[in-house]
Amino acid sequence: MSFFCDGNVHSLPEGSDSPSRLALEARRLGFGCLIICNHSRFEKAFFPEAASFIRGVEVVMGIEVVAENAKVLHSRARSAKTRYPFVAVHGGSEEVNRAACEDPSVDLLVHPEEGRKALGIATIKAARDNDVAIGFDLSPMIRLRGASRSRWMGLALRNLALMRKFEVPAVITSGAMSHLDLRTPRDLISLAEVVGFEASEAKEAIQHSLKILDRNRRAWASPGVEVL
């Protein structure tokens, strides 16, 4: 099985493809794992059991929590952590980005640049302390053109520089809404190199979701104490 994982894709009813169709396509493109993270509003995916019939690719149901403020975010993330093995947060505003990075229930912060501001130093340090990875959804590279894409690339580059400085892990995803949005791992690495990643960094970032899943599947008695 491949060690590449697309950590943030969306299926029916949010996207246009069922989990099994996404799994079929992901397997063909060379992924070994796919994490379906529908936004909280579309939490109930269409027939996720069908994806288990596709051999050679593991499909994991996660969630992308959407919250307006820090209080709601903490409550929703804690609740989601008990039900899903992978919890992502849809970032944007500085308040939500900071709250997500300060919450140990959160595994991944995606779209932090949506508020058109790069992450702050305090936010990045909180992400490092709480093991929150920062997501680089490369769909703006595919969908956008011109000024809006260069603005997105500028913000992504600034976040990347901060993450390198404070050694916060990155997760590269396609943010796919349909099978037409999925790209091969090598295509994602090439796109990430255009944004500013080194090839080895990009490869590690595509595999990092698997490490998060592995960590979440282990039983922890308390922070740092594992039940064997």
Binding site: H10, L12, P13, E14, G15, S16, D17, S18, S20, R21, L22, L24, L29, F46, F47, A50, A51, F53, I54, M141, I142, R143, R145, G146, R149, M177, S178, H179, L180, D181, L182, R183, T184, R186, D187, L188, S190, L191, E193, V194
Partner: protein, 188 residues
């Protein structure tokens, strides 16, 4: 007389691409979109040095020429193709070779063009309903009755598989009159 000295000839690589689209594409439109995506990502100066060109396209597989130093650049540019003439499209590079013959023999299957069936049957389920547009293998493209179902993804069709239609029906197929037996058949 030769127009160019052989020693000045640029080395090339040939990329084989697989194109996934909702409708059949014309080769001319795809070539224009690839050029546009490349120019938009890298600018005219870099594009001039790469000389990316679509040499052949059969409706599914194609061969693209690029400079041997710009394979990764070309790969990135090709993956940014989003739609061709308003038709949602994805271009994936499946291999690279130093000769057209090598690229063709190694990566393009002999019977490459998929002939998708479209027989106008319908799927009536609680969560999805609509008309089947394409079936190939286990993949089913469905034109939904409610167009708002595909609003978020910017596509025309819903992507399902035969596995999604299992259950809830005596005939175990989920279509109004049953899927064709054989490859598309759902065996419980």
């Amino acid at each position: 007389m030769r127009s160019r000295l052989p020693v000045l000839r640029k080395r090339r690589r040939y990329l084989v691409i697989e194109v996934d689209s909702e409708e059949t594409l014309r080769s001319v439109d795809l070539a224009a979109e690839i050029h546009s995506a490349n120019a938009s990502l890298y600018g005219d100066a870099v594009v001039a040095g790469n000389r990316l060109k679509l040499l052949h396209f059969d409706g599914r597989f194609g061969v693209i020429r690029c400079s041997h130093l710009k394979i990764e650049n070309s790969r990135a540019a090709l993956s940014t193709v989003y739609s061709v003439g308003g038709i949602r499209t994805a271009v994936r590079v499946i291999g690279a070779s130093g000769t057209i013959r090598g690229a063709t023999e190694k990566y393009i299957p002999r019977l490459s063009l998929i002939s998708a069936d479209s027989d106008g049957r319908r799927i009536e389920q609680e969560e999805v309903s609509g008309r089947i547009v394409h079936i190939h293998g286990r993949q089913i493209d469905l034109c939904p009755d409610d167009p708002s179902r595909v609003k978020g993804s910017d596509t025309k069709y819903l992507g399902l598989t035969s596995f999604d239609l299992r259950g809830g029906y005596v005939d175990a197929d989920g279509t109004a009159d049953g899927l064709r037996q054989g490859d598309n058949c759902i065996q419980p």
